[in-house]
Symmetry: C2
Subunit: 336 residues, 2 copies
């Protein structure tokens, strides 16, 4: 057997502010032989997510910091090339923490095998039938408790999660208002995804627009952005509103967190709540979400968009697209 | 029958910042004769609460603003002097919105009659068996879902609500850390009320002290203060923490709400929530709280302290004691 050469991005320094090329180092090393109980996965696609930025810091988030000198952590999708693990067979597809590399040698922990549905493109797994779809589903339905007739506001609405949240909201029977940056994204939300309205935060003042579009107030807010956007949301919540805190992308590049929302007191007056969640807590119930998402997708009621970047080499630069607002839909790196 | 003369504090201008004497005007007017269906109540005691300050603003909170020129709104306790209302008899005690006046003529709405327990001082009703006790009980047990073995942090801990919350926390089986201003208050919390520890926010940095005293983190925070105190709490929450937002007294005198907490992102990482509540939502269940509080009080497990100011004339100046930190326990004005 010829020795396989791995291709990896190592995290070699902690970013200050935006990720810089110097934070990463490209490495090519031979893939070691498998030990008993191990599986070798070749990465096909890598998911770039805002949360990746937080993992590069020296302080722990919901996961420990990535040690310097180690492979950059990331969720991906791959195919089993060799297996000495009873739970995986060659040719099987898997999702999980493949990390930013061509080959993963793993004891199987954190990898979930799946059988692709014939006719479904591979990017549908990272875009819909994976952590992104589960985040949108459980965040809106379980944490947000969204119900028919309620008003839903979604920030980062043209992102991978936000675009699904708004569509699921419509399926549930909510009135849905999205907040996104730029006319193209807003047009996509309303004309293609069926949002009731979209606010272009780059050109419109969000707080008064929400007031007009969300009468008598926001019942469920799905928050991906934080900062001023969250404040505009809090200023417009309805009685017993649920603010689902899924992300705060506006703050991930800040060394010290900036001051928070001024309108937090509105939670009190409106008997409302902000609740944070991490989708991996729902991992044992992913099948439930995928069944629903699959049904809606098959019926043409749910669309996803993949924004595919070619080549593992592009991963560090591509991650910044999430923070520049130059990405629409699910940002994916095609690795092999 | 001699005509009774009412004594009232009218709200005549909106305060900017702290309440000023000029915001109020003293009025003495004859009490009108009762109409059929009305009841006349003589106020015995008036409860001064931080929320009173919010009611004086031009913008609605959970209640509409007090119209200028009308009697200042306030919760009180009184005795029925005359009744043409089938639900009230002369000599009966009532609690409710008596407002800042000696006599209330009412159609009975918002007034709850009660039979005093022999031997119990009258201030026990505003201090314990009223909205204060219900706030502490439902906030901690229902909203906070506090359980034995958890760590509870209470801000405004030497206030009327906070001092009860910490004691109920101990009865439930929590480890309780209070945050209060000044050594006398902290000593009272630990030595008389049985808190496990108290942090004097005027002399100690709250965030690092919470880190030391609340390992591995705060499970339930009962928040009466907001601002920097809330931020210090959020920086130290444990997984699945519940932050009960009962008040934000640090901000009630601000015309524009100041920026909020920097560590809001911790809600996400810790899958935690902040939830606001207003005790009147639990009014139909007050008896349930009073039964528990009564049992604990009778057993000597629950203490309250009344800080009694003599005379309705003192009410405007006394309300500022809540914001100066010069008050310990339940602030009450003895009216008659």
């Amino acid at each position: 057997m010829t020795t396989r050469v791995n291709r990896q991005w190592l995290l070699v320094s902690r970013p200050e502010g935006r990720l810089q090329p110097s934070n990463f180092q490209w490495a090519e090393t031979p893939v070691p032989d498998l030990q008993e109980g191990q599986v070798l996965v070749r990465t096909l696609q890598l998911s770039l997510d805002p949360t990746n930025r937080g993992w590069t810091n020296a302080t722990a988030t919901y996961l420990p910091p990535i040690p310097l000198g180690e492979v950059m952590r990331g969720i991906g999708l791959g195919v089993v090339e060799e297996s000495r693990h009873p739970g995986f067979r060659v040719g099987q597809y898997v999702q999980g923490l493949t990390n930013w590399q061509l080959y993963l040698v793993s004891d199987g922990r954190g990898l979930a095998a799946f059988d692709p549905t014939p006719g479904l493109p591979m990017d549908a797994y990272l875009g819909l039938f994976g952590h992104i779809g589960a985040t949108a589903y459980f965040g809106l339905v379980e944490v947000g408790q969204a119900k028919a007739g309620e008003t839903l506001a979604v920030s980062g609405a043209a992102g991978a999660v936000g675009s699904l949240v708004g569509q699921i909201g419509k399926i549930i029977g909510c009135r849905v208002v999205g907040i996104a940056g730029g006319p193209a994204k807003c047009k996509w939300l309303v004309e293609e995804l069926g949002f009731d309205a979209a606010i272009d935060y780059k050109r419109e003042p969000v707080q008064p627009r929400l007031r007009v579009l969300c009468r008598p107030g926001i019942d469920v807010a799905f928050e991906n952005v934080g900062g001023d956007i969250l404040d505009a949301v809090l200023a417009n919540i309805n009685l017993r509103a649920r603010v689902v805190l899924c992300g705060m992308i506006s703050q991930y590049n800040e060394a010290v967190p900036p001051p928070g929302p001024r309108y937090l007191g509105n939670l009190l007056v409106k008997r409302a709540r902000i609740e944070g969640f991490i989708v991996t807590d729902y991992m044992s119930r992913y099948a439930e979400a995928f069944a629903k998402l699959g049904e809606w997708y098959a019926a043409g009621r749910l669309k996803y968009r993949a924004d595919v970047v070619e080549g593992l080499e592009q991963a560090p630069a591509a991650l910044n697209k999430l923070f520049d607002g130059t990405n629409t839909g699910k940002l994916i790196v095609r690795v092999s």
